[in-house]
C-alpha cells in the first residue's frame, strides 16, 4: 500500500479526474469540432442522415462563402472557357459560375475594425480612469464607481430603442464610429472595475520610487504602472474583445450596409442558393479565429489575470 499523503492525490483519483476533464473538454468542444468539420464538407455531406463523421474534405464551403455565384444552363456551359482557377472549377461542378466576391470579406473587416477599435478605446479610457480612481482623492469616488457599475445592471439591449433613436438623430447609424462608441460604452464599466482592482494591487511605492528618482507622475504611470498592469490589461482586453466581437443584437438593429459586422451577416448566407450549411460553417470557423488567436496569445496573462488578487500575498 502506498503512503497516505494529504496533498498528493492518489493514482486512482488522478485517473478519475483525468477522465472527467477529458469528457468535459470533449462535450464542450464537440459543437466547435462539428462546425469546423461541416465547413469542409460538401453540401450533400453536410445534411446527410445519419451524419457523416468520416468524409472527403472539400473547400466548397469556403469558396461559396467568399463568392457570389449564378446558375448556368447546359448550352451556356459549353460556350465557357475552361475554369481559370480551383475555385472556378469547384463552382462549375455545381453548374454555377462565380459572378464576383461576396460581402463576407468586408463584413469580417468591419468586425475587426469595430471589435479591436472598441477594445482599444475601452482599455485606453478604462486604464486612465482606473488609475485615477485607484490613486487620487477623487470627489464622490464611491458614487462615481457605483454609477459606472450601474450601467451594467440591466442587459444593454434593454436600451436598444433609445440608442436607436439617438444614433439616428446623431447620424451614427450604420457607421463604424457609432458601433465603436456603443461597444466602448458597454465595455467601459467592466474595464474600469477590473483594471481598478489590478492597479490597486500594484504597490504605490513603485510610483513613489519613480517620483523620487526624478520622473514625472505621467512618466511613472507609463514606465512603472503600465508594465505592472500588463496582466490585468491583457485579460480585460480579452473580455472586452469577446463581447464586442460576438455582439449580435445591436449589430442587427443598428447596422445594415457599410458597418455591418460578421455576426448578423453569417445567417444571411443561408438564403443564397439554398441552405448552404458548409458556407455558414466556414464563415463561423473564420469568425472564431481572431478571438481564438488573441486568447491563445494572451492566455498566460489571462490565467494569471483571473486568479490575480484572489489570494492575499
Amino acid at each position: 500500500m502506498s503512503a497516505f499523503s494529504v496533498t498528493e492525490p492518489s493514482a486512482r483519483s488522478k485517473g478519475i479526474a483525468a477522465v472527467l476533464v477529458f469528457l468535459y473538454a470533449f462535450i464542450t468542444l464537440l459543437p466547435l469540432l462539428w462546425i469546423i468539420s461541416t465547413g469542409f464538407k460538401t453540401g450533400p455531406d453536410s445534411i446527410s442522415y445519419p451524419p457523416k463523421v468520416i468524409f472527403t474534405p472539400s473547400i466548397e464551403g469556403y469558396v461559396n462563402l467568399f463568392t457570389s455565384r449564378t446558375r448556368i444552363n447546359e448550352e451556356d456551359r459549353a460556350t465557357l472557357s475552361p475554369p481559370a482557377n480551383f475555385a472556378e472549377a469547384i463552382v462549375r461542378e455545381r453548374d454555377m459560375v462565380i459572378t464576383g466576391p461576396s460581402r463576407f470579406g468586408e463584413r469580417f473587416l468591419n468586425s475587426v475594425i469595430i471589435g479591436f477599435g472598441s477594445t482599444f478605446l475601452s482599455i485606453f479610457l478604462g486604464t486612465l480612469a482606473a488609475y485615477a480612481f485607484s490613486r487620487f482623492r477623487v470627489p464622490l469616488k464611491d458614487d462615481l464607481m457605483f454609477f459606472i457599475l450601474s450601467t451594467r445592471m440591466m442587459p444593454p439591449i434593454a436600451v436598444a430603442i433609445p440608442i436607436f433613436l439617438m444614433f439616428r438623430s446623431l447620424g451614427l447609424s450604420d457607421t463604424h464610429l457609432g458601433m465603436i462608441l456603443l461597444y466602448t460604452g458597454v465595455n467601459i464599466s467592466l474595464a474600469v472595475w477590473l483594471l481598478k482592482g489590478f492597479i490597486d494591487e500594484i504597490p504605490r511605492e513603485y510610483e513613489e520610487a519613480a517620483l523620487i528618482d526624478g520622473y514625472t507622475r505621467f512618466q511613472a504611470f507609463r514606465k512603472v504602472v503600465l508594465p505592472q498592469a500588463a496582466t490585468g490589461i491583457a485579460s480585460t482586453a480579452i473580455f472586452c474583445l469577446i463581447f464586442a466581437w460576438n455582439e449580435y443584437a445591436f449589430a442587427v438593429l443598428l447596422t445594415s450596409g457599410t458597418a455591418q459586422t460578421a455576426p448578423p451577416f453569417i445567417p444571411t448566407i443561408i438564403g443564397v442558393g439554398g441552405q448552404d450549411w458548409p458556407a455558414v460553417a466556414a464563415g463561423a470557423t473564420i469568425f472564431l479565429l481572431p478571438v481564438m488567436i488573441f486568447t491563445i496569445l494572451l492566455r498566460k496573462h489571462l490565467l494569471r489575470g483571473i486568479t490575480f488578487g484572489a489570494v492575499r500575498k
Binding site: 504597490p203 513613489e208 520610487a209 523620487i212 528618482d213 526624478g214 520622473y215 514625472t216
Partner: protein, 365 residues
C-alpha cells in the same frame, strides 16, 4: 550633502492630525533617527521631507532652499522604502541606473557609475539578474544602490531593515552605518525599533501621536528622557515608574517613598502638583538589605550575564537588572536602593520630566 531644517511642520488628513507642528534640524552628514510607535507620524514626516506628501503647513528647508511645496523629483533626495520597491520588471542593473537615466545621463557614464556603486555594495555579481529572485539582503543592497548612485543631497529611509530576518538585520544595520560613515550623507531614518535607533543614530527624534516628544543624542534620550512616554519607549525593560505624592519645591533633592527618603538630582523648578512619578532605569536599582525601602521578589528572568528581577514594592512593580551571579529567591523580601544621579522626576498629569541639575540639556519637542 545638506542640512535639513523642519519648522512647524504639520499634516492633517481630513480631521485627523498626523503630525503636529514638528520642529527639528538635521545637521549636514548626520544619521538622524525618527523613532516612535506605529501611527505616531514619523513616516508621514519622512514622506513630507521627501515630497511624497504635501504638508498642511510648515516649512522644509533642504540645503538652504525651501521645498515644502515642491514635487519630489525636484528635491534631489533619495528614498529607501521598507519593501524596497525595486521595479519588478527591470533587472538589478536597470533598477540602479533608473534615477540616472531620468536625468538623461550618457550611457557610458551610467554604466561606470552603476559599476562603482555595485562595487561599494558588493553586488557586482548580480547586476544582470532579475530582482524577483534576490534574497532580502540583496534586495536591500540594490535599493541602497539605487539611492546612492545619484549622490543626492540626502537619504530618506523608511524602516529599511523592517522586512529582513532578525539575524540578518543586525548585519545589515552595521553595513548601513558603515556605508553612512563612508559617504557622510545626511540621512533621515524612520524606525519603531528603539535598539536600532540607539545603535545607528547620531541623533534621535522620538515622536508620539504626531508630536515630537524629544530630540537629542541616543545617550541624552536614554539617560534623560524628556517625557514619561520616551522613558517608557526607550530601554528594555522600560524605565520603572514609581508614582508618589509630595510637594517638591525648587532646590529639593530628595523624595519620600513610604518612610524612606531617597536622594534625587536637585530640582531646578517647583513641581506643578503633588502627583509626581519617580523614574528609575532597571540597571540603577540595587538589592541592598540595609535599605528600608523593601520589595518582594515576584520573578526572575535569566539573561546570561545579567538577570531581570521583578519586585513588588509599595509604589508599584519594579524591575531590576542585576548581575546573574547574585542569588535571589522568588518570594523573598529584600531592600532596594537607587543610583541617585540617574533618577528622573515626572509630573504625572503632563508626563513631562521636571528640570533637575542633570537634564538641563534636554530638548523637549
Amino acid at each position: 550633502m545638506a542640512e535639513i531644517v523642519i519648522k512647524g511642520l504639520r499634516k492633517e488628513f481630513g480631521s485627523f492630525t498626523a503630525v503636529q507642528s514638528s520642529t527639528f534640524t538635521v545637521k549636514d552628514g548626520e544619521f538622524f533617527m525618527l523613532l516612535g510607535p506605529s501611527g505616531c507620524g514619523k513616516t508621514t514626516t519622512l514622506r513630507m521631507i521627501a515630497g511624497l506628501e504635501l504638508p498642511t503647513s510648515g516649512e522644509i528647508w533642504i540645503d538652504g532652499e525651501e521645498v515644502a511645496q515642491k514635487p519630489a523629483s525636484q528635491r534631489d533626495i533619495a528614498f529607501v522604502f521598507q519593501m524596497f520597491a525595486l521595479y519588478p520588471h527591470l533587472n538589478v542593473r536597470r533598477n540602479i541606473s533608473y534615477p540616472l537615466v531620468s536625468q538623461g545621463m550618457p550611457k557610458a557614464l551610467v554604466k561606470e557609475k552603476v559599476a562603482e556603486v555595485a562595487k561599494i555594495l558588493g553586488i557586482e555579481g548580480i547586476l544582470d539578474r532579475p530582482v524577483g529572485g534576490l534574497s532580502g539582503g540583496d534586495r536591500q543592497r540594490v535599493a541602497l544602490g539605487r539611492a546612492i548612485v545619484r549622490r543626492p543631497k540626502a537619504f530618506m529611509m523608511d524602516e529599511p531593515l523592517g522586512a529582513l530576518d532578525a539575524e540578518f538585520r543586525e548585519h545589515m544595520a552595521e553595513e548601513l552605518r558603515a556605508l553612512h560613515d563612508r559617504m557622510r550623507a545626511t540621512t533621515v531614518y524612520v524606525t519603531h525599533d528603539q535598539l536600532e535607533a540607539m545603535q545607528m543614530g547620531d541623533k534621535i527624534v522620538v515622536m508620539n501621536h504626531g508630536v515630537v516628544e524629544q530630540f537629542g543624542t541616543p545617550q541624552q534620550v536614554y539617560d534623560h528622557p524628556a517625557t514619561m512616554f520616551v522613558a517608557n519607549f526607550i530601554g528594555s525593560p522600560a524605565m520603572n515608574f514609581l508614582p508618589f505624592q509630595g510637594h517638591m519645591a525648587r532646590g529639593a533633592s530628595e523624595v519620600t517613598l513610604g518612610d524612606t527618603r531617597i536622594e534625587t538630582p536637585q530640582l531646578q523648578e517647583t513641581a506643578p502638583g503633588p502627583d509626581l512619578v519617580l523614574g528609575v532605569r532597571p540597571e540603577h536599582v540595587w538589592l541592598d538589605d540595609a535599605s528600608t525601602y523593601r520589595g518582594r521578589i515576584l520573578a526572575t528572568e535569566y539573561l546570561g550575564t545579567s538577570q531581570i528581577v521583578t519586585l513588588s514594592a509599595p509604589n508599584g512593580q519594579i524591575k531590576a537588572r542585576i548581575p546573574s551571579a547574585r542569588n535571589v529567591r522568588t518570594g523573598d523580601t529584600i531592600g532596594l536602593t537607587f543610583t541617585a544621579s540617574t533618577l528622573a522626576l515626572f509630573d504625572k498629569a503632563s508626563g513631562r520630566a521636571l528640570r533637575t541639575s542633570v537634564n538641563a540639556e534636554v530638548h523637549n519637542g
